[in-house]
Symmetry: C2
Subunit: 352 residues, 2 copies
DNA sequence: CTGAAAGCGCTTACAG
DNA sequence: CTGAAAGCGCTTACAG
């Protein structure tokens, strides 16, 4: 229609040749001035910097990547992102990557089922590496890494393959911590609301919990979702042996448990039944939840993931790099507190 | 340490020359075969495709961007992302961009204050365009667009600059919808919990609300946060004229209002006081909240944002493109329902 | 210290 | 239809 109007002319950005011309030096000198490690005389450098500033020149990172074989782009693959814990992780990864000099190419996929649909895109942009965080993991990560020729670091969850790199919370320890706390508080009838089958998080948290308990807890799958946690809680409470202490494999299911107890059974978490979660997502501090939970610090996990990937990229580490990060229990009001309880890795929420 | 071990050799990916050699054609032919619009004979094409498949060849998108001046990368800038509504938006944008053939370079910044720190990074990677979604907006977007030479589309929030592109919910309409609904339910003492000063969302929602009310509502700032919404609700209820109907500029503040009413005043939203929010984020469907709220469809907003940017990039549109999307009210249990209420843009939650 | 030149992996006129 | 050649914006040995 308004083809006649003056179109928004995409302003062409200056190149190193433009700067060279203006500064009266060679294009190579400009390149050296901008790539730290090159020799440039003091006055040449001054002229170049002045010219670059006037022109608003900044080197084209894409062109550079072509020659030095490093795009400085990292693919971050994240599935099932609706839980706020993953948002915190994503935010932290992005910040850590930027600080380390990398950019984040985002692949937010509906579920990890769809992982295969993105490997072409990931590959086409020649990312230097991949960080993956997803609830379920159906793909052969090792093969994917091989096919793309770049290292992959898994976060929060590991795969049952010998050669993959990962950084996860020490979930077994987390489960034990919860069991010991509940035992000290005098609970007797334990239940575990698991996540989804096959997830290392769900399995290890449950194993640690069970290992520290005198008898086996009841177990119900909660699907790592609010609805799943709600239904699991209902089933447990209507069952033949309602538990007096429920450990949930993730906070979101614990919130659901608290809501189910209140709205379906008129029970209050912390007084009638103890509920403990995992992750310490933001909502756990909300007045309605005030959740006692295991802190798995998305910030340190994210930073380690980036450090590991960095080391792998700089050939300063050899895969597999596999780390389990220490966790601790944050005590709030959703679970009965043992009197005079003192233990390592347990921290009372101050204030309130 | 283990420098002696065989290092993980980064496998070099094949180039168009490798494919050409194997297929017995020129490199140019390979390029043409992969760039739709080029002429390649049927048998040449067959040989090329076979060779490419054997070698696992895919064109280097970064190299291509150099020559055709389109990186097909879009920067998505998102601040204050802790609210789940923004997560949904981010996910939708990413999906829509991928479908349109673009990749997402993520810039998740602590707050929009930090916007300036990322423009260099955004520029260095020669993104084709920018989509911005943030709670506050302190930067001169028009100038930023000018400086980088690429179009910017704002989402959910607009700026008071004549030339910016944006797509937002029709917030004035949303505010009116809420007022009419509350009036029909027989409420008399209205309150508005605003977000932050200067945000178009907060202003327009409040203006629409006020415009449809017979008298001015009380107003308290809630900072678009849980804590802020909680404090605002407390202040209102302890004030000289406790409201019987509270409209919150965003869901997260409405959840806080519901919790504050229950835990601080022993009141139930929907029975004692009506609470209505804005956005229909996932938590609003949780049993504890069951929030009546204005639906501002992050999915359609995201798709439109991508379409607009696309059109701008293809020179099929001239800035500014400014759109306000129709909203509707989703009726759940947190606000009294007028008897026999029927209105356009009001939808009862089915089921339960 | 500095410039000329080659090359990274592509696309695109331009001849044949 | 197809190949040779130039060029995108850089970096990096290599001579001077």
């Amino acid at each position: 229609m308004s083809k006649g109007k003056k179109e928004p002319e995409r302003t062409k950005r200056p190149t190193s040749y433009d700067v060279a011309r203006r500064a009266g030096v060679s294009q190579a000198a400009v390149s050296r001035a901008f790539s730290k490690r090159g020799y440039v005389g003091a006055e040449a450098r001054a002229k170049i910097e002045a010219a670059a500033k006037e022109l608003g020149f900044r080197p084209n990172a894409l062109a550079r990547s072509l020659i030095d074989k490093r795009s400085r782009i990292v693919a971050v693959v994240i599935a099932d992102m609706y839980y706020s814990f993953y948002v915190a992780i994503l935010h932290q990864i992005n910040g850590a990557l930027r600080q380390a000099g990398y950019q984040t190419l985002l692949f937010s996929i509906p579920s990890s089922q769809d992982l295969d649909t993105i490997v072409d895109d990931v590959g086409d942009y020649r990312v230097d590496g991949i960080i993956m965080v997803s609830a379920r993991l159906t793909t052969d990560v090792a093969r994917m890494s091989e096919a793309l020729g770049v290292p992959i670091v898994l976060m929060n969850r590991y795969a049952d393959q010998p050669s993959v790199n990962f950084v996860v919370p020490d979930d077994h320890q987390g489960g034990r911590l919860v069991a010991e706390f509940m035992l000290a508080a005098g609970h007797h009838r334990f239940a575990y609301i698991a996540g989804i089958e096959g997830a290392s998080t769900s399995r290890d948290r449950g194993d640690g919990f069970r290992a520290a308990l005198p008898s086996s807890p009841q177990v119900k799958a909660g699907d790592f979702s609010y609805e799943g946690g709600f239904a699991a809680t209902e089933a447990l409470m209507r069952g033949p042996a309602p538990p007096d202490a429920i450990f949930c494999a993730s906070d979101i299911m614990a919130w659901a448990a608290i809501d189910a107890l209140r709205h379906e059974f008129g029970l209050r978490a912390g007084r009638d039944v103890s509920v403990i979660g995992y992750n310490d997502a933001a909502e756990s501090r909300w007045r309605n939840y005030d959740l006692t939970t295991v802190v798995s610090s998305p910030d340190s996990m994210s930073h380690r993931a980036v450090e590991i990937l960095s080391a792998l990229l700089d050939r300063e580490a050899t895969p597999p790099v596999q780390e389990r990060l220490r966790v601790h229990l944050k005590v709030r009001g959703s679970a009965r507190v043992p009197s005079d309880y003192e233990a390592e890795n347990v921290e009372m929420e101050t204030g309130r």
